[in-house]
Symmetry: C2
Subunit: 337 residues, 2 copies
């Protein structure tokens, strides 16, 4: 029997996941599609993919426009989350709530570190998998442009209420379902390492490009890699170490060189340019909080994070989530009234 999977987050990453899962024949996918719902229901996704070639029209088995409407197609073996992870805007554990049954495994295919704890706390009896994706794929109004091979690492966020065996089994079964002969997916014994490794890039190059408004190539040409990125990366390595993850020094240059040849705009910069929220909390905030817990000094990351927080508030104001009083309030006793 096919695995019944619900997908929340139909961007470039999620849609390629849905396509690959259905192509492999081992899963049936219910996709929660919000902004592109009409396009997808009427015409399906159009896909140009380095792994799958040109696909004129792809429709997942079920397409719904809200999490609530997905419920009727459950229960789901896997609840696959590929949205941006924005805990300051919405909580993943709230988002998935209607879809998680006793036997569901939740899969977070998202950026950041320390993103499993709150989900495990809410669903202590469910396995929560940790997916770290290496893919370059974008979605513009239902047109998926997939340039970088889908290569996924899957492990689990350790839940001490559950047996290691059940968590490992859920991981390995997901890997076997995901693999379709054209993509890459492996079980990762130490996915926490893999998350911190990716953060070496995201907390530094991604953040600093976002703050300065330039791509990684310009950041290097304009001196910012030498003046800022390396010291911030060293802080990430120190925080990772305090969290039990020992990354090699040469990961820094590997990440600095990872976009060689292209003027690559990393994800938060792209989000900011589009007027969207940025994943500053899970990328920088969680790292800084880990540093504070473990008494690791990280002045650069802390300032980077605090700057990004103000920028996020600006986006909240623009989207109407925060209202700025017409008259500037004067703080009373140190609090803004």
């Amino acid at each position: 029997m096919k695995s019944n999977i619900v997908l929340i987050g139909s961007g470039g990453v999620g849609t390629i996941a849905a396509y690959g899962l259905e192509l492999g024949g081992k899963a049936s996918v219910t996709a929660v599609v919000r902004s592109d719902y009409n396009v997808v229901v009427n015409k399906g996704y159009k896909i140009d993919s380095c792994d799958y070639g040109h696909v004129e029209s792809f429709k997942p088995t079920n397409v719904v426009d809200s999490v609530e409407k997905a419920v009727e197609y459950g229960p789901f073996e896997y609840v696959l989350v590929t949205t941006k992870n924005l805990p300051d805007i919405f909580k993943v554990e709230d988002l998935v709530a209607p879809l998680v049954s006793e036997t569901s495994t939740i899969v977070l295919l998202q950026n950041g570190v320390d993103i499993g704890a709150d989900v495990i706390k809410r669903y202590p009896k469910n396995v929560v998998l940790s997916g770290v994706s290496m893919i370059s794929s974008t979605n513009h109004n239902g047109f998926i442009h997939h340039e970088g091979k889908d290569s996924l690492k899957i492990g689990y966020f350790i839940n001490e209420n559950l047996s290691i065996e059940s968590q490992k089994n859920a991981s390995e079964r997901f890997v076997s379902i995901y693999l379709n002969g054209k993509n890459e997916c492996t079980y990762d014994e130490d996915v926490k390492y893999t998350r911190w490794r990716k953060l070496v890039y995201n907390a530094t190059l991604n953040s600093i490009c976002t703050l300065t408004g330039v791509d990684v190539g310009r950041l290097e040409l304009f001196g910012g890699v030498d003046s800022m990125v390396r010291s911030a990366m060293r802080e990430v390595l120190a925080i990772a170490k305090s969290d039990g993850v020992d990354l090699p020094e040469d990961i820094m240059d590997f990440m600095i060189r990872s976009d060689d040849g292209i003027y690559y705009s990393p994800s938060m910069l792209v989000d900011l340019r589009k007027g969207n929220y940025i994943e500053s909390e899970v990328i920088c905030g969680n790292a800084v909080r880990t540093a504070k817990r473990n008494n690791v000094s990280c002045p650069n990351l802390e300032l980077i994070y605090n700057l990004l927080c103000v920028i996020q508030m600006k986006t909240k104001e623009a989207k109407g989530l925060v209202t700025v009083p017409k008259e500037r309030p004067i703080p009373q006793n140190g609090e803004c009234s």
Copy 2:
């Protein structure tokens, strides 16, 4: 006999200075006017001023469109510079070169710290005055909107080749020429202190608003004053101290509260929004360099400065001062080829 003064920099600050000087009757002003030249020659400046009321048309005694063309109206007793101070774009000491005679006093009415040294080095026999302006005045195409009383402090950048007396005399004479009964101008025994004091605001609130794209009011409402401004201010105080300037702790809250009631956008933010260069070198760069010379730790200011440097490079690219190669170069031996 009237003092013969040449003014370079006809923005909101410079034009009010020119008007005030001519009004006082003790000076004749030759103004170097670049972008507004045609407007000013044909119609004069239109001024709305809290000090001087409405002025339908003001033309300085001489109006020229380049420094070179001002030469014929010399020699000048005072060479008054009210341009932005942008040493990464042009050097003040180069700019004033055609106008400085043996007897000229150079007056830098500009932001930043440590801006006198290079001018003194180039003109070791000339007095160089240091002017710190408190004014709120803008120029839009020859229309001057002057909201905050013109209050100027004048001292001198210490030049050890010259007698204290001659430097003090040049300062006091400038003050007496500048005063016209409607403005404020005082001789400042310790203008270095006054410069560092102003930097407590500019290196922190001004810079951080520029990096986050919000005014001072929003910065406070969005948490940035508490999360960033105070620690950066503490660094400015430490650097000032290492430079012999002992600022009181309560200057921090004074500066934080100095724009109370208004959503004020500080100068570098305004410059950046207009696509203009920002005074990051004299405001942040010189402070950070002083810190390095004196072994003062300032991780926040250093990162702020390095971020602003990349933003300045982006403006240089936009203005054609820097060209980014079509193909992203791969550094050879750590250098961008």
